[in-house]
């Protein structure tokens, strides 16, 4: 049997963590290719709707990363985001999401090494949990006509 490779939807803010991903790339830091990166202007842009959508469409994990507190390009976006993330993570796990499937980090655009490190950690934790059962909706893709 083939080894399970999780799909991880990753929301990165344009100014810090996306820069870090870029830096990790040009510096040739290795990390597994399980990430599907979505670039957003700010971690404050992440809506719980997007996170649930990711799971609903079959993500095994979601990772959200932005600038360190105090470094937000929009000054305060990540401070607001932090409160949203606290309540979001708590409520997701309250309703049965396994801890580890949703992950958060602050990574600046200078921290290419930290990016690759956290990526490896997130991937291995989600991998250990196995496929996200029950989270994804079974969409009706096509119907056979008799």
């Amino acid at each position: 049997m083939q080894e399970f490779e999780p799909k991880i939807i990753t929301f990165l803010c344009n100014w810090c963590t996306y820069g870090a991903a870029d830096l990790a790339g040009v510096s040739r830091f290795q990390y597994p290719a399980n990430m599907r990166i979505i670039r957003l202007p700010c971690s404050g842009r992440v809506s719980p709707k997007m996170v649930l959508s990711a799971f609903r469409n079959g993500a095994d994990g979601v990772w959200i990363s932005g600038c360190h507190p105090g470094d937000c390009h929009y000054i305060t976006g990540n401070y607001y985001a932090r409160r949203k993330f606290t309540l979001l993570k708590e409520m997701l796990e309250h309703t049965g999401l396994e801890p580890g499937r949703i992950q958060f980090s602050w990574i600046s655009s200078a921290e290419g090494v930290k990016f690759a490190d956290v990526a490896r950690t997130v991937i291995s934790e989600v991998k250990a949990l196995g496929p996200a059962k029950g989270m994804a909706k079974e969409f009706i893709m096509s119907q056979e006509v008799a």
Binding site: K49, Y80, R82, T86, L87, K89
Partner: protein, 315 residues
């Protein structure tokens, strides 16, 4: 509670007669014995329809949103906290309102009453703190304290926080031993058991949206459930869609929900969906020391921040 009703009528009549308000929002008798019905009264002569008893479960703040006229409104403890929230969120102006506060001793759970009556309740009456219901199982009399809605057992503000008139004597506030025992019970389960708990909880949901329509916080012109590009949640009763609906609705109420219980009281399937909202109420207390609607002029927790907010979970 009969004298409270008389007092409400008297205040409402006076307000309409003296043209201090254009309408009074209150409760009248419903078409079923265990239900009351929200009503908007415009004529002093109609104030005789106003009632007050343990079936006044809905939250009248729901009917304030965006009104332009001058309004008299009956408010129990939790409703008054929602009115504070409405003022903060610019959904109504304080000077449009004459708030008729009612110190509240709790509402009777409609499911508990129908269980007691052995099916559909055919008659309901109150005398002092005794409630009498009739149904297939005959006539039963219980004390109200034994049939309270669960939110009323953990209420933190039975006396309205804001009011202009008061329709009764202040009541003693509760001091529940552990206000969040229900949330903690879920916290002690493992992930699979939690998942199963909510699956079971929501299994009867028909997506009628009565819970959303009864909630004063759900005033969005277009709810996310009706957005189609992108479509965040499907329309049917697929379990994942039902869960997505309840999760996001509860999340939208985070830091704003007063635990008034109107959502549960409105549910025709008796689904206890406060299992979602209660979690964020607790999280707001634990993380931000926040209780909704207790003070005018304070921004809700998701609309503000502190530079040293907790963040142990962030790498």
């Amino acid at each position: 509670m009969a004298d409270v009703a008389l007092k409400i009528r008297e205040i409402a009549r006076e307000l309409l007669d003296s043209e201090k308000v254009d309408v009074v929002i209150g409760f009248k008798k419903g078409t079923l014995p265990v239900m009351s019905e929200p009503t908007i009264i415009r004529k002093a002569s109609d104030t005789k329809d106003l009632i007050w008893d343990a079936t006044c479960r809905l939250n009248l703040c729901n009917y304030l949103t965006g009104r332009k006229d001058r309004i008299g409104i009956i408010a129990k403890g939790c409703d008054a906290r929602n009115i504070v929230g409405h003022i903060v969120e610019n959904k109504i102006k304080r000077d449009q309102l004459v708030i008729i506060g009612v110190p509240c001793t709790g509402m009777a759970d409609k499911k508990v009453l129908s269980d007691l009556a052995g099916g559909e309740v055919t008659a309901y009456s109150e005398a002092g703190d005794q409630i009498t219901v009739s149904g297939p199982a005959g006539e039963k009399t219980v004390s109200k304290a034994d049939v309270l809605q669960s939110n009323c057992c953990t209420c933190i503000k039975r006396n309205p926080v804001i009011f202009d008139e008061m329709a009764g004597e202040p009541v003693e506030e509760l001091s529940p031993d552990n206000r969040f025992a229900d949330v903690e019970a879920i916290a002690s389960m493992d992930a699979a058991a939690k998942w199963g708990y909510f699956e079971e909880l929501l299994s009867g949901c028909t997506r009628c949206y009565a819970c959303k329509n009864a909630c004063p916080l759900c005033y969005c012109p277009t709810c996310f459930v009706d957005e189609s590009r992108p479509q965040w949640v499907g329309k049917g009763t697929d379990p994942i869609d039902i869960r997505t609906y309840h999760f996001l609705r509860a999340y939208h109420c985070a830091g704003r929900c007063t635990d008034c219980g109107a959502c549960e009281a409105a549910c025709p399937m008796d689904i206890k969906m406060r299992a979602f909202t209660r979690k964020s109420i607790k999280d707001c207390v634990d993380n931000y020391g926040w209780e909704t609607g207790m003070k005018e002029g304070v921004r809700p927790p998701l609309d503000t921040f502190k530079t040293d907010d907790p963040e142990a979970f962030i790498r």
